[in-house]
């Protein structure tokens, strides 16, 4: 066996080493001076993130283990994007990790979190369903433990149980779909499946539907989304933000690869219409629920459902540009959503309030937090010149690039939904700036350094990711110039 192929997975190995180091540090450091651990993890992870950018990564597609594992500049790009997100999450979680309750549990928190990230790496790079399942489960199960982390709160374990049960159920469905696929193709390699399945009839349809459902759970697409709101609300806020951006981002990329590479030949026949319906449902239902939410975490849960619908536009585009726009959308979404969660977390940790009414007139007491939240809402709603506008713009334009009328209609529906979403995003802004009250229930306070750092990164991202065009161009170029692993649907 050629051991040098391990080098191809240098990002995974780096992450594993990091996890081991964190584990060792946690085990052997003194419990009396426990603050070092979070600093240690954040710094190490920051280095890992940086390393992802500076490593002279493979300029072309490289594979290992008989083609089960593949990496390419696009995959390095999505992993880097996820790393940025995780880095921000880690910074923002620092305050929570320092609380008294977390004193003896800090180590588990970091280890579990990073292990799920490892699972996501595998999901992204897997080109064989066996490895993919391992990645998927590694990314799912520790999350249930994380959701239940706040074990003194009833909501936290309720959420964990709901997450657990639904996750198990969806895995079962997913694997059932896979077994159908195996029955049809006799192989679990992505590329071989595409080559060997000619026409599977009803069995193939069910298989595709089940695979979509299984991934739809991770992406919280309607109607596979019902766990989302309860889990987001019940989980500790750090975990919620992690679930809403990182987990979703990795799943979206993997979903693209599966749909295009494995089921690409059946795009027109089978899954374009499935996805079409799911996107409309997801965006609309997410919006309709978000309209009336009063709890901000729940509100962001539904908002993230409808955002997932927009991300799926990149999948239905099915082209290399679609993939580039999808990665870019995830990047922007990471900045915007984490900015919002940063504010929520910071206020929650100081006052324990997460309902929208408490935010009335926040501007008068905490202008900077209100401003950050405003930018996040503007970006999520897609108001120019913030990054969210550009990400929506590009993903919409790649969706209609094929010129099919149906996709034009789909984008039109998505646009109408953007208008609806504008309403509820601006409700938050209105509460903070316009709703007048005698005084805000949230007293003025100074956020911790780490909270501020996290929010600064997000704000810079919201402002710059859109107008600094080389970011988008760079991402799209990696995916356009390395299309070898993408089965191009619109080749002809």
């Amino acid at each position: 066996m050629d051991y040098s192929q391990f080098l191809v997975m240098y990002q995974e190995i780096g992450l594993l080493v990091l996890i081991l180091l964190v584990f060792l540090f946690d085990t052997f450091s003194s419990k009396e001076a426990p603050r070092g651990l979070s600093m240690f993890t954040v710094v190490l992870f920051g280095l890992l993130t940086l390393a992802g950018f500076v490593t002279p990564c493979c300029k072309e597609v490289a594979s290992a283990f008989g083609g089960m594992y593949v990496t390419s500049p696009t995959m390095v790009a999505i992993k880097n994007v996820l790393n940025i997100g995780v880095f921000i999450v880690l910074i923002q979680a620092k305050g929570w990790a320092h609380s008294e309750f977390m004193r003896v549990r800090r180590g588990e928190f970091y280890e579990l979190l990073l292990i799920t990230l490892f699972g996501m790496y595998l999901m992204i790079s897997a080109r064989h369903f066996l490895l993919f399942i391992i990645g998927l489960e590694t990314a799912s199960l520790p999350l249930a433990a994380l959701v239940a982390f706040d074990k003194n709160r009833y909501e936290s374990h309720e959420a964990a149980v709901k997450y657990m049960l639904t996750a198990v159920f969806s895995s079962a469905i997913f694997m059932m779909g896979l077994s159908f696929v195996y029955a049809l193709a006799g192989t679990l390699y992505f590329s071989d499946i595409a080559a060997s399945v000619i026409d599977g009839g009803a069995m193939l349809i069910v298989a595709v539907a089940f695979v979509i459902a299984g991934m739809g759970f991770k992406l919280s697409l309607v109607p596979f989304h019902l766990w989302t709101a309860d889990v987001y609300q019940g989980a500790p806020t750090s975990i919620t933000s992690y679930l809403s951006v990182i987990s979703k981002g990795a799943a979206a990329f993997a979903f693209f690869v599966i749909m295009v590479q494995v089921f690409g030949p059946f795009y027109n026949q089978i899954w374009e219409w499935m996805l079409y319906a799911l996107i409309i449902l997801t965006i609309t239902v997410g919006n309709l629920f978000a309209l009336r939410q009063k709890n901000l975490k729940r509100f962001l849960a539904f908002s993230s459902i409808s955002q997932a619908g927009y991300i799926m536009l990149g999948v239905i585009a099915g082209s290399a540009q679609g993939l580039g726009s999808l990665i870019y959308y995830i990047l922007v979404y990471i900045f915007s959503n984490l900015a919002a969660f940063g504010v929520i977390q910071s206020i929650e940790s100081k006052t324990g309030r997460v309902d929208m009414d408490s935010y009335n007139n926040l501007y008068s007491t905490n202008p900077k937090l209100a401003f950050t939240m405003m930018l996040a809402m503007f970006s999520l709603a897609g108001i120019p010149p913030f990054a969210g506008f550009f990400s929506k713009f590009f993903i919409f334009s790649t969706a209609v690039a094929s010129g099919s009328v149906a996709l034009y209609i789909l984008v039109l529906i998505a646009l109408i939904n953007t208008i609806i979403s504008l309403y509820y995003y601006l409700l938050v802004v209105k509460a903070m700036f316009i709703n007048n009250q005698e005084d805000c229930v949230i007293a003025p306070f100074k956020s911790s350094v780490s909270d501020r750092l996290g929010m600064w990164i997000c704000v810079a991202g919201i402002i710059l990711a859109g107008i600094v065009s080389c970011i988008y161009n760079g991402i799209v170029n990696t995916s356009v110039h390395n299309p070898e692993y993408i089965f191009t649907i619109f080749a002809n």
Partner: protein, 672 residues
């Protein structure tokens, strides 16, 4: 280095805008001046390198100056053709504008250190904000002149409009300032609508935004001979020929595009009938008037026409429109300037008139006459005018600061009290009146030569306007500094010259106004980059004067000054007599020919009352009603599906499974 020219002002804007309130007034002002001073040095270096280094990128073997793109960043790329770039284009006019903008801007930065205080030396409120906006303006204006493509120009064009809006409305507690800033913004925005449509039409048919491709035939790589007469013209015309530009309403699409683009220029350069915003813009602080509304932003329209001059040259009809608009505006503004009381308004109308001179100069420029002298003269006048008009405005600022009023009726006889201001103002007047050897003489003389070469009508017309110019400027001069003894009110200090921060810029600008005329412009800035003279010396401009034209214009100017002297040097009833002799003309001119009232009538009585009100009703009742209905339906839907989110995990799983199966069965049924 060139990127710093843009980066420093932008950085100063961000720094002063974000942290200005935390620093002291003095520090903010000093930082602003330092930033601008650095930019000045850099801009001078770049401009001098361009003109005198003789680098291969800047000048070719034949001595022709080239367009050279220092850098060009792709900002947004939508398709292969639809690319938006940001870059730095260096050619004679942009290099010249770099010098003009940074010089005036630095003077104004320095001057404002003294001006933006009250009589006790206490800084005004919002002083830091003022400097932040000045930096923003400088950034935008510099970005405008170095634009490599018309879209970049449009972006910065709007930015200068926005910073002008901010600065006119600097005293935002004063209703008149707020009104003036709104007026300026709306009028120029309206004009920019034409500009934008023009850009879209032009770039749609040519398939490019880039100036180098629009105005010249590319010669290996980036270097271009940016106007090589016939061959280039043929090249650009062929672009239009290929896309088969259709006729529209009797004119070619290109003429339409150019006229629409010129409309944008008319708005910014306050050409009739879009001039109404400029006199009101004098509500801003006087240094702002000097910088934005006299020297730099208002000449953007001239610059725009000069930038696209080869295109205009291809469609002579559009150039004729430029000429007519310019000539009418010049005369109109000169007449109005003879009757105004507010000294800043006199200067404002004078500015309008002088910019119109430049427009006429571009309009009458033809390559066959004296190597296209009109183009060179227009740019030359832009340069000299920026210097002496900024000088006059800064003098006016000093006077206003000393007296506390804008009207000459409160001044009179100030020559003994404010000697420096008096002398510098006089130099400014001599320069604008066109007296040899001051700067304005040379540039105006060349404009008149260009007119002479075009047609007798424009020559006589513009000479008359030049005479009027001399007359109203000296009327103003005498009414401020002579007329009668100054009355110092009880309990007030006698007016006096201002501190050095304010007088130093006056002296420097006056010195420039004295010598700027000798700059051998014909060798630096010409329409095709080809030098006009074989060798240059300090007296080149004198040697190449067309003495018949020069003598006539000098005579006209001197006669006008004599008349002004007779009428206004000492208090006498002559002006009143003249006024009473032609009461109708005087009243009309005093009320600026009722343009504002006309606009008020059109906007208020016709557009607002007759058109907007019904639309508003429709909007409020029909459109809003429909929207409210949609909102209600959405809310209802939202309420009606809430049962889906029951909270019970069995339901969740059930919905999940049914969803997947339904999805599969529908597709299966469809495929059957």
């Amino acid at each position: 280095m060139s990127i710093l020219i843009l980066a420093i002002p932008l950085f100063m804007f961000l720094l002063l805008g974000l942290t200005g309130m935390k620093m002291s007034h003095k520090l903010a002002g000093t930082l602003g001046c330092l930033g601008m001073g650095t930019t000045l040095v850099l801009a001078y270096t770049v401009a001098f390198t361009y003109f005198f280094s003789g680098g291969a990128d800047f000048i070719n073997a034949a001595g022709e100056r080239l367009q050279s793109i220092l850098w060009n960043v792709t900002w947004l790329q939508f398709t292969d053709k639809l690319v938006i770039r940001l870059g730095f284009l260096l050619d004679p006019i942009s290099a010249m504008m770099l010098v003009v903008i940074t010089t005036i801007s630095f003077m104004v930065h320095l001057y404002s250190m003294g001006y933006m205080r009250d009589h006790h030396g206490v800084f005004e409120r919002g002083f830091q904000r003022f400097y932040a906006f000045l930096s923003l303006f400088s950034f935008s204006m510099l970005g405008l002149v170095v634009a490599t493509n018309i879209f970049q120009m449009y972006i910065f064009w709007e930015l200068v409009g926005a910073s002008s809006f901010l600065l006119i409305g600097f005293y935002y507690t004063k209703p008149s300032a707020v009104l003036a800033s709104k007026k300026a913004f709306i009028v120029t925005r309206f004009a920019d609508l034409g500009f934008l449509i023009g850009i879209l039409v032009l770039s749609y048919y040519t398939g490019t935004f880039n100036f180098t491709e629009l105005t010249s035939a590319p010669v290996d790589g980036l270097a271009n001979v940016f106007q090589v007469s016939e061959t280039t013209a043929a090249g650009v015309k062929s672009i239009f020929a290929n896309s088969a530009a259709p006729l529209f309403m009797g004119a070619s699409v290109m003429t339409w595009a150019l006229v629409l683009i010129f409309m944008g220029g008319m708005g910014k350069s306050a050409m009739m009938p879009l001039h109404i915003w400029l006199p009101d813009a004098m509500e801003g602080p006087t240094p702002v008037s000097a910088l934005i509304h006299a020297a730099t932003m208002v000449v953007a329209g001239v610059y725009l026409v000069a930038r696209l001059f080869p295109l205009y040259l291809m469609e002579i009809r559009s150039l004729e429109i430029v000429t007519v608009v310019g000539a009418v505006t010049a005369l109109y503004a000169a007449i109005v300037a003879c009757t105004q009381v507010d000294i800043k308004r006199v200067l404002a109308f004078s500015t309008i008139s002088q910019i119109a001179f430049m427009m006429v100069s571009l309009g009458v420029a033809r390559p066959e006459f004296h190597h296209g002298i009109g183009y060179m003269a227009g740019m030359f006048h832009l340069f000299t005018h920026a210097m002496f008009k900024a000088l006059l405005f800064l003098c006016a600022g000093a006077l206003i600061h000393a007296i506390g009023s804008n009207d000459y009726t409160d001044m009179h006889g100030l020559r003994k009290y404010m000697p420096i201001t008096h002398i510098t103002f006089l130099i400014g007047c001599l320069a604008i009146a066109g007296i040899i050897p001051f700067a304005g003489f040379f540039s105006k003389d060349e404009i008149l030569t260009a007119c002479f070469g075009n047609s007798a009508l424009w020559y006589v017309w513009m000479s008359a306007v030049a005479g009027l110019t001399a007359f109203y400027m000296f009327r103003l001069y005498y009414l401020i500094f002579w007329w009668k003894e100054h009355k110092v009110h009880e309990g007030h200090h006698a007016p006096h010259d201002q501190p050095w921060t304010m007088t130093l810029p006056l002296v420097i600008l006056a010195a420039i106004s004295c010598v700027a005329g000798f700059v051998p412009f014909g060798n630096l800035v010409t329409w095709n980059g080809h030098p006009m003279f074989d060798h240059v010396s300090f007296f080149t401009n004198l040697e190449h004067l067309d003495w018949t034209v020069a003598a006539v214009s000098l005579a006209v100017a001197i006669i006008a000054i004599v008349i002004a002297t007779v009428m206004y040097r000492k208090e006498n009833p002559l002006p009143a007599k003249f006024r009473n002799a032609m009461p109708a003309l005087w009243t009309w001119a005093y009320h600026r020919f009722y343009f504002d009232e006309l606009y008020m009538f059109i906007t208020k009585n016709i557009i607002f009352d007759k058109i907007c009100k019904p639309i508003a009703w429709f909007d409020r009742h029909i459109i809003d009603g429909t929207m409210d209905m949609f909102a209600k339906v959405t809310q209802r839907l939202s309420v009606s599906i809430r049962g889906l989110q029951s909270g019970s995990v069995q339901t969740y799983v059930w919905v999940y499974l049914v969803g997947a199966l339904v999805m599969a069965s529908i597709v299966w049924l469809c495929l059957l």
